[in-house]
Each structure stands twice: as structure tokens, then as C-alpha cells.
Symmetry: C2
Subunit: 344 residues, 2 copies
């Protein structure tokens, strides 16, 4: 079985995104928020069957851990109250996708973060998604300010109540920024990668997992710059008298495989232990074209993992399936529940 742990609903019906645009405009103008749009099952089916489901079939992957579009979280474009309504709408839509395709998609939620807001305020929506909707994780934005990085690092105690809830619910967080309102940072070409790199270094400097030994964080986009600079990070940890990274971070931090060329995927698998690598493609996402050097889509990351010559069958199965089941503690039982639903 091949589990893609990083898919966003980038193809959601246009009326969904349009509603967010009107919601933000209403907030700006002091008007009352527009009602949530009616979206039919057929609209959802169309968007999924021509998009993510088609690609699953083409590439031979089985299950996508599916969350709302990351760039559209845009926590910096509204306030906490509006983001709460928006997150609920996004998460409900993911829930409907999982209901329609219970063997192909399993949910991960967006959180109603906002610049300056208390992360603890996200716990009710996290709890609703996990306990009522059967979601198995969340996306956690380390920079709700959208490229200004005006909040505290992720080792700050203000995040702790949220971490307590994650641990209690046994769900991991993917640390994932949203769009950027800073013209210095292109979203998918700089802000995403910088977010990954910055948070890893925050964790390296701190000692978060002494306080939360079972908390699990996934750093997407192949871990940002981290595996490429693995020597720098090992060296910085040593200079700072921190433990070896394998002990200090690698029981809790995992990297996905959203690296869009063979040499990059091979570097990842060379320096990061296999147990810390989760298969992912972020399809349909940041890069949509076909690589003229290979004739295949840049984001067809399965080919890169298949093409790493030194991985044996067991290691490949860990990356494709086993590690996702281990990191997403609720995945296996939720998948059983969803599959039973379809069979019934």
C-alpha cells in the first residue's frame, strides 16, 4: 500500500474559495459575513475524480492524507473569529471528500490560527475534527502572520496547550506555513522552504521533546534545506552542546518526500534515517508541469523513491506505508472504519 501523507484540496469548487474572498471583504468593510455556499456531492466528485483520484490511479498510490489547501489557510488575511468559520468550512469539505472516497482519502485539518491569537483557541476545532470527523492529524502554521514571522518560535510555551491536545489525541502536526504577504518570499519557492528550515532549527536550539516525548511533527517539502545541510545542523547541535540529532530530534521529527528530482530524493534517503521519511507528493500542488529531463511530472515523487537503488523492499515499504501508520497513530483504525463504511 502506498500512502501519500501530504495532499491538499487544491481543486476544491470555486464557490468555496470565492466565499472566503467575500468573507474577508465583509470583515474589512464591517459587513456581516456571507452564508456558506451550497456545494453538491457531484461538485466534489467532479473536482476529485478529475484531479487527485485520477492522479492516485495514474501513479499507483492508494491513500492520500488529505487537508485543506495550505495557501488558502491565509491566517493573516482575517481575524481569529473569521478564521474559525473558514477552517470549519474547509475541514467539513475534507470530511465530505473522505465520506465519498473512504478508501482513498483520510482527513487532516486546518486550524483557526490568527496572528497574535492564542494557539489554545484552536483546540476545539482540532478536537471536533479528530473526535467527530475522524481526522488523523492537523496542519500547524508556524507563522500565522504570513511571512512577517511576528509570533514566537514553536518552542515557546504559548504553543504548549495545543501540543498537549495533540499528544492526548495521538495525532501529529505537519508544520506548514500558508501563503506569504511579504514580497521577499515567494510562497512555494521560498516561504514554504524557509518555514521548514526555520522550525527545524528552532527545535534544534530548544528542548521541546523533553516536555513532549510523544509529540510528533512532520516537516514537509523534504525538510526544507535541512537534509542538504545535515552536516551544518549536526555541527551546530554539537557546538551548542545539544545531544546528537538522532536522539535530540529524530524520535519526534519526520520529513516528507516532496523533493522534485532524483538527486534530492537520494540525498534525503542517504542522510535521514528511513524511519523518519514519509512518502508524499503534495499533488496537485506547487509544481504542476512535466520535467523535460525525465518526461514525467516533477511531483511524481513515487518514481524517485522507486529509483533509489540501495533501498530494499522493507525500507521502501516503511517509507511508503509503515512510517505513516506509525506517525499517524489513528490512521490504521480510521482506515478500517472508513473501509467498512464503503463495504457496508
Amino acid at each position: 500500500m502506498i500512502i501519500d501523507c501530504h495532499g491538499h484540496y487544491t481543486t476544491s469548487p470555486q464557490s468555496h474559495q470565492d466565499w472566503r474572498t467575500r468573507q474577508i471583504a465583509a470583515l474589512r468593510d464591517g459587513a456581516s459575513a456571507p452564508p456558506r455556499p451550497q456545494i453538491s456531492d457531484d461538485q466534489i466528485r467532479d473536482s476529485i475524480e478529475s484531479g487527485q483520484l485520477r492522479i492516485q490511479r495514474e501513479r499507483g498510490t492508494d491513500l492520500t492524507i488529505f487537508s485543506p489547501r495550505a495557501a488558502s489557510m491565509a491566517h493573516h488575511e482575517a481575524d481569529a473569529a473569521a478564521n474559525e468559520v473558514w477552517s470549519a468550512a474547509c475541514n467539513d469539505l475534507i470530511h465530505r471528500v473522505c465520506g465519498l472516497y473512504p478508501r482513498n482519502f483520510i482527513g487532516v485539518c486546518q486550524l483557526p490560527q490568527a496572528p497574535g491569537a492564542d494557539p489554545a483557541d484552536c483546540i476545539p476545532e482540532l478536537r471536533r475534527c479528530v473526535e467527530e470527523l475522524g481526522f488523523v492529524g492537523c496542519n500547524l502554521n508556524p507563522d500565522p502572520s504570513g511571512g512577517h514571522w511576528s509570533g514566537p518560535p514553536m518552542t515557546d510555551r504559548s504553543w504548549y496547550p495545543l501540543y498537549e491536545a495533540l499528544v492526548e489525541l495521538d495525532v501529529p502536526a505537519m508544520v506548514h506555513v500558508s501563503s506569504s504577504c511579504n514580497p521577499n518570499f515567494h510562497a512555494t519557492g521560498a516561504h514554504y522552504i524557509n518555514g521548514d528550515t526555520s522550525v527545524f532549527m528552532q527545535l534544534l536550539e530548544g528542548n521541546l521533546f523533553a516536555d513532549f516525548p510523544t509529540l510528533k511533527l512532520i516537516i514537509p517539502h523534504g525538510g526544507g534545506a535541512v537534509p542538504y545541510h545535515w552536516g551544518r545542523y549536526r555541527g551546530l547541535a554539537q557546538d551548542m552542546k545539544q545531544p546528537l540529532l538522532t536522539e535530540h530530534l529524530l524520535n519526534n521529527v519526520f520529513f516528507d518526500t516532496c523533493v522534485y528530482h532524483q538527486p534530492g530524493a537520494e540525498l534525503l534517503a542517504k542522510v535521514i534515517p528511513v524511519k523518519n521519511i514519509l512518502f508524499a507528493s503534495e499533488t496537485i500542488g506547487a509544481v504542476r508541469g512535466i520535467d523535460p529531463e525525465t518526461g514525467f511530472h516533477f511531483d511524481d515523487t513515487r518514481r524517485y523513491i522507486d529509483g533509489i537503488p540501495w533501498l530494499d523492499q522493507h525500507q521502501r515499504a516503511q517509507i511508503f506505508e509503515g512510517n505513516a501508520r506509525a506517525v499517524y497513530g489513528r490512521l490504521s483504525s480510521q482506515l478500517e472504519r472508513q473501509s467498512a463504511l464503503q463495504t457496508a
Copy 2:
């Protein structure tokens, strides 16, 4: 000959840095600035011979392209006028090092940038360093705000007068941030790498080299996250209908080899054309310890380049020497001048 294109004077005499601290305090308190400290040739010799020169000899490198300490530029800690005095002091010290060791060091200058200040105001100091002190390049901070990224991207027209001066003087700029006052960004573990990644993406999005076809920019620290995500960048360029990166950027953008482990250095040499790679170690710098996995210093990057099995003698010579001579247009003649000085 082995030329290290990225060395900072991190071991400068303590009185130099102390003076900057007092200068900033005086500025804050509205007091008059303290006088520049007296630093003897012996103090400089001590700091260099026990530091950078010793390491050159130990590692068998010949020449360091030497600039003031990057973290101490701290453009965000003072105003343009104070930074002008500080930059001059830093650059004069580099000039003295090059005068004392004319075959071992060649100068690159710090610029008196400041948050919100016009980059054109840096031209007089750039000109002084190149025309009077024999410097062959400059360090250019893409984020004088020190981690707030409050200024415009490097493709903005406000930078153009400075680029015109660089082109006219035939000197490249190394795009190098300074320290970070944003607690989200550890300086050498996040801010440096993010700066590299962000600027590369700014250049990818823009079309700067259509306006400055002979401008040369060096992106340090192995190009940040860029080579690891080379497929992402090729794919983003393609999605944006930009030309191939080889045509769009690689006549003007170069990467150094400050990547502190063998797999990272190999990735760099695998995906980036040899002509775009300049040997560098950033010694004595970000990572100072010995890698327990190899028994050698993390920043002993010569070993990694020597250890790339597929490079032939000619390619290795390009990385170690030829590319630096090509990118730093004034290097060869300046080195001749300095060597004659020592012989005389």
C-alpha cells in the same frame, strides 16, 4: 592554487567589536560616538596567524577572499551614518590584513546599508574599497532589517544604482544576510540559509539579468536550499514560463561550497554546473567542531570536493580556482599587484 571565496574576519581583535558596541550605545543614548580604537599590526598578526592563516596551512588552501564578519555587519542595529563609520572601520581592517599577508588574503567589503536607506548610498564606500584598497567584491545584505525582511526584493529598482556600480567596477556581490533580531530565525542555522533561498527565488521570478547581463551574484552556503530542491525550482520556472534556469540565471548566479558534509557537496556538484560552483569554507565561521563521523572539521570543505569521485582534474581546478578568477574579474590582477608588493 586553491582559492576560498568565503572567509570572514571572525577573529578580529576584541577592541574592534567592543567599539561597535559602544558606538551603538552612544547612538541610542544620543551621546557622541567613541573614537575608533588603535589596533596594532601585532594584534592583527596574532589574530590571523593563530586563526585563518593556520587553517589555510593545515588544509592546504592558498588564498582567502576575505571580508568583515557577516554577523557583525548588523545593519539593523544602527542607522546609515553610524553604519558608514562602522563599515569603513571593518573594511580598513581587512585592508590591513591583506597588506600584511598579500599572498594569502584579498579583500571583499562590507557595505554601509541600513533598514530603509537607499542602497545607492553605499556606492562611495564600495568605490573606495575597490579603487583605493584593491578589494575585488562586496557582501550585499538582502535584508538590512535583520530578519524582518521589511525592505523590497533584490529585483526592485531601488537596488539598480548599486548594481550599475558593481557592473562598472567589474566586481561581484556575495548575497549575504547578517545577524537576526527575529527570534524565529537562528542566524547561521536559519536566517543565512533562508536568505540564500529567498533571493534565488526572487531572481527566478524576476528578470534582473536582462537589465544587467554582466552582473554576478554569489549565493553562499551552497545556495541555501536551492540545489536540494533543484527540481522544484526548474518546475516553478517552467510553470511561470520563465526560460530554463541555465539560461535565465546561471550566467550570473554562482554558488559556493559551504555545505558541511559529503552527501551535500556531492548533490551540489551533481545538479549545478561546475562552472557555477566556487570553492569556499566560511572558516572560521558557523560550525567550529570536528565531525565525529569523519574525524575532521565540519567546515573542512576541501575534503568534500576532493572526495567527489566523478570530478576530473580540470573540473576540480575550476571549482578551486578558475571560477573564482572568472567571477571576481579583478582578482588575478589584484593578486599580481599584492604578490609584487610582498616580493619587493
